[in-house]
Point group: C2
Chain length 360, copies 2
Amino acid sequence: MSRVFNFYAGPATLPLPVLERAQAEFVEYRGIGMSLIETSHRSAEYDEVHNGAVQGIRELLTVPDGYSILLVGGGATLQFSMVPMNILPEGAACDFLVTGSWGKKALADTRAYGRVNVLFDGADHAYTTLPEASAVRSTPGAAYLHLTSNETIGGVQYHRWPTVEAPIVADMSSDILSRPIPTESFGLIYAGAQKNLGPAGVTIVIVRDDLVERSPDSLGAYLSYKTHAKKNSLYNTPPVFSIYLVRLVLDWIRDQGGVPGIEARNTRKANKLYDAIDNAPGFFRCPVDGAARSHMNVVFRLPSEELEAQFVSAAKAEGMVGLKGHRDVGGIRASIYNAMPEEGVEALVAFMTEFVRTKG
Amino acid sequence: MSRVFNFYAGPATLPLPVLERAQAEFVEYRGIGMSLIETSHRSAEYDEVHNGAVQGIRELLTVPDGYSILLVGGGATLQFSMVPMNILPEGAACDFLVTGSWGKKALADTRAYGRVNVLFDGADHAYTTLPEASAVRSTPGAAYLHLTSNETIGGVQYHRWPTVEAPIVADMSSDILSRPIPTESFGLIYAGAQKNLGPAGVTIVIVRDDLVERSPDSLGAYLSYKTHAKKNSLYNTPPVFSIYLVRLVLDWIRDQGGVPGIEARNTRKANKLYDAIDNAPGFFRCPVDGAARSHMNVVFRLPSEELEAQFVSAAKAEGMVGLKGHRDVGGIRASIYNAMPEEGVEALVAFMTEFVRTKG
């Protein structure tokens, strides 16, 4: 087997030891005579997986008492609807900071359910910048303020959090568990698994209990946070395999020194890559504001689209895949989530240096 | 490894060759240097899986032109809400046949979104019976008629379909692909995967295009059938691994002689088990009406709860697990979905015969 360095934006690379463990126990799970995906979600074996995942998230993100941790299907895209359905009361408005394509999608769905004040929209700067955190003020009476902690297409990421009166709702799909966060400063955090947590198919929702209480009784069962909170996300059959992989990824994060250990490594990885860009200023160019540069999705341009296409295919030939930028913006994108090893970034940096030498 | 016979009601037993194939290619998928769950959902490799699953469903269920096949997260429980949100117009009413606990849950969620006429409710007979198919008439102007093709707790299953004016919406979660169906007689079919299709995490929705067109534009993107239909269920990241397993299960069904081959085997399995019950009338007793007996979930009672408990634990000791009836009704339940081998049923029948001999 020749494992490549996988720079896809999501679904994304996962830790090899996690994949190997899942493979080894896939057909017969720990002596129970069947696969975990064949066993009842009410069995002792699945119970241990489910509660281990919930508990792992609570510990690693230091989620305080007074918050529920939910495991929901449908992806972050379903949360774009569930958030306003549950916590935007009829007649109320919420605030939005729109810093890229995910924020735009969340905004569009929120408008289907209520009024929105857009406090910031990065469209005029092609989503290469963020609002100044200290300058953000929520609208008096706003039900919440929504932000996207990291935008995978534009490559912007908050490194300082706004402090506002309204509860902050954060879509952390693309950077959850990549660094410590002040969880108690958020009202609700949601994150699709397929970047830093595991395979597609499950979304984590961390929600303060007073916000759960806002859920109107008029919602269907699956769409109500109350249902999932009351039943520990076992009202219906959860996405067992995705949750099991999340559980294994959480164990792996512990082995890496927890979230602080992961953050230190992520910072080293990002610095190496941005240095390689900044050190060839006539050739590579990162369009993102210095203070807003993402440690998860590093985007950059070359002098021409032709050179960008050459870069992507030559990198692929050397075992580095998924470097083509999103079709909406073009260029190059290297997604370097938690599970991307430092060796992968080092290989990419070496490739970039050589590419400049021969083509620059 | 000692594989047990797994009679769980869901998640449920899967074909061993499917599990072995998934295990073998789990860490490195077909030479691409990564796992399938790590690759982009826009990659050629995933595209082949996704479209293979959709096409497999279309072929095996002979889905005519004019129907879309959607792959949605969240389970059938999310469909309990999405169906009325999409195809029950404001002010309209729909009809319901309530034949067990799944129908009751679907009914409760539907009532959150509109008016319902309950045409049949099996509660007075403890959900051991079905309405006479030929006697069912839909209410003039009803937006649709909802039924549950098989109820896993009560163990009842339609063997004749009603013919009514309104489009029929069927929850087939627990018997899809277990027998040929007249797909063109239904307006919408939905089925969570975790009985006959694969692991939990994906739900199949087969919907007639004129019903897709009913979706109001006021819905958030994920909740609208239009979104999934227009984007071939790739508007957002789909539950990749669950869909991949479904794809493998569909291939396995083809190897079994397609749905007719599966049906023949399912009928033999069910007949053997019901015969074993009926041949010990003073000891075993099936509470379900003869014409409504499920070929998927065979429920029966013993003379006492004490004997039932002994039966469950003695069977487990012989490698037959998951036979305890649902806590709401007690007794014994043997779930014998597509992937339960005939040998499993034969082993259970032999065990039952011996149990009667020693305890009867």
